[in-house]
Symmetry: C2
């Protein structure tokens, strides 16, 4: 009998009524002949409330104890979900992460899954029960309770699906799938029927995905089809699957916009080996996350401009660190621009189509948008533009690559 | 190094401030050279709130899932307590019942402890940590989460104290000890310095104890001294200990009042073997808890009056059952009196002192209180009186047996 995993996020189990709705969905799948595993997050804002409680007690709580605290949120949800299924006349049983052998390393608050023992789940599925597992949590080999960090419940669901050989992992959420871009900015945005793991990973890292990248990596590694869909309707959502030949016909799957970025550019840095290394070692030492590296070398000169983009939050500290650096590295000037944004196009079709970048730059040029920096990877082209131009750039590219609704 | 167990009830950990207060108490004991284990209940009304949440989802939730739900309350408390101790600059580590090997049977919502593995607790104590354990909960040998039922956190504390050889189990609560009687009714009530397990067990079953009887039974069985004391002050409370010779000098340790009782008396029942058995089998079958059995046999007659006391809630159903019984047993009349109360005197001194009952009846008689029924056991004498006389009876006996304040 085929197994499906259904994951319900916090908004989908925020009230008793929503819990019953999720329960009905699992029962429906069971009646359709599937074995069903549910993975459930904490109700609504529970995690935030628990964090607030911790802050009341301690400004800097030990991470092990934070995990002990936060995992109660999912434990409440799974028990209520089991009650809801029982109330509807079906068999269900709930398990914490530890109880189903979700073993992680000991990196509290951001633990990584080491192994999963699917045998207990399979046994209860074979007894005809719907099995409900707490998302976001695991245990160390020593039995300490851990959490998987942001997006942890998605990771639980996909990893479980891989471990027990589920045919699909359904992610129920408050949106009905993955969109070509943010519909709040581009009303013509369309739902994507199918997307590859790699494209989805890029969308996630560009801040546009509905899922966290770690869960998608799991899906890719173990080839688990992930179905992102609405908890409120029966409409089909978006399937995240392994890349197929046909998928390359679409050049651009989606376009994204990342705000709250800043660029820090060091001007007049000696054009000699070791300079970049010195600069970025210092940046990394202070835990500043570099988004993209920007380097313009004056073609024949002795000097270069080296820079990077980072969050607006980190940019201030980064500038201070760079000013410190002027003591050892002869930097002529430091230029910080915190009114920029990154606009990207993502698609595996780029691998086989030519002229994509040219088409992108041309469209932006026609819209009179100045490109400040460019970065590319195999399936992504990104440009940094002035923040004021960002939304127009997004709409322009959405149209230029044929993603508008109805096309 | 000697170990102490400190148990904090829900009211003693209801807020962040109270958690810090409890933490300071544990730290103080540690600085005084003790190894400290804390057992903590769920904060304030958490358990009631979780039960309300369950009721919202299901009118009749499976007990296994109720346990899964309710145990989150203590898990929240232990993590916050560990954070509070860390914030004060000391080492602490929290554990769920399952994590410290609190193994129970599988009777969900009222599980009984089967075994405790104290080794993990001892290891962390030896590393200099304050160990915090979730009260009220355990796991089955199969790993399912259970709860110990009413008063479960006290049971956890005393059982743990026994398992790890603690010198004392301190129960911190919102009263400062065990009183000779309810001070709200008898202002002269005094705090008892020392009381035997047996006396405390009787007080608990008469509804007057601050602790549940199961925890006292554990204390008695493993001879763990239990110190009931206030979470708010440093005043010494009441020590519950094994009976010593000197304790018998006090004839009566306390007097109690149990309201919400009713008597059901079946009049004119044939005075022949098997009648009582028939009646009480029927009562038991309907899960009605009989408080005391009342039997007045007409000295030379062919008929007897058989009756019992029970809660006023159960009395109505009991009367219906007895009326049904008249079809098989020739009962002349059924008399229900739901305006009665039970007043009792408790003391191990009764075992060696004579005339205690006579003194009791005489005192009540002088106060013009009519005794409706009498029941006795080795260290208790109880009378059932009219509800309207109950408080006067309590005060009368408190004075008569020399328990008033200042004596």
């Amino acid at each position: 009998m085929s197994i499906i995993v259904q994951k319900f996020g916090g908004t989908s189990v925020a009230t008793a009524e929503k819990i019953h709705r999720a329960a009905r969905r699992a029962i429906k799948a069971k009646l359709a002949g599937k074995q069903v595993v549910m993975v459930v997050s904490a109700m609504g804002h529970t995690t935030d409330e628990l964090l607030a409680l911790a802050k009341e007690v301690s400004p800097n709580p030990p991470k092990r104890e934070l995990d002990m605290l936060l995992t109660t949120g999912e434990q409440v949800s799974i028990s209520l979900m089991a009650m809801a299924i029982h109330a509807a006349g079906h068999e269900a049983i709930s398990f914490t992460g530890g109880q189903v052998g979700m073993v992680t390393d000991a990196a509290h608050t951001k633990a990584r899954i080491r192994s999963i023992d699917g045998s207990r789940i399979r046994r209860h599925l074979d007894e005809g029960k719907i099995v409900i597992v707490a998302g976001f949590q695991g245990v160390t080999p020593d039995g300490a309770i851990t959490t998987l960090g942001r997006g942890g419940s998605d990771t639980t669901a996909v990893a479980l699906a891989a471990a027990i050989g589920a045919e699909v992992c359904e992610i129920y959420t408050d949106v009905d799938g993955v969109y070509t871009t943010d519909p709040r900015i581009v009303p013509q945005a369309r739902k994507v029927t199918q997307i590859s793991y790699d494209e989805m990973l890029e969308l996630a890292s560009l801040g546009a995905g509905v899922m966290h990248s770690r869960s998608i990596e799991f899906g890719k590694k173990y080839n688990v089809p992930i179905h992102v869909r609405s908890a409120l309707t029966d409409t089909e959502g978006t399937m995240i699957v392994a890349e197929t030949k046909g998928m390359e016909d679409i050049v651009v799957r989606g376009v994204t916009l990342k705000r709250d970025l800043a660029t820090v550019v060091l001007q007049g840095v000696p054009n000699q080996p070791g300079m970049a290394s010195k600069i970025f070692a210092q940046i990394a030492k202070h835990n500043i996350v570099v988004d993209d590296i920007i380097q313009n070398i004056y073609s024949q000169g002795a000097e270069a401009n080296i820079g990077f983009s980072t969050t607006t939050d980190d940019a201030k500290e980064a500038a201070v660190i760079c000013r410190e650096l002027t003591k050892e590295v002869p930097i002529k000037a430091i230029e910080v621009d915190d009114k920029v944004a990154k606009v990207s196009i993502v698609g595996i079709g780029m691998k086989t189509h030519t002229g994509v970048a040219a088409k992108m730059f041309n469209a932006l040029s026609e819209a009179k948008i100045n490109i400040k920096h460019i970065s590319t990877s195999e399936i992504v082209i990104s440009v940094i533009v002035d923040l004021k131009d960002a939304e127009i750039a997004l709409r322009t590219l959405h149209t230029a690559f044929g993603l508008d609704n109805g096309e």
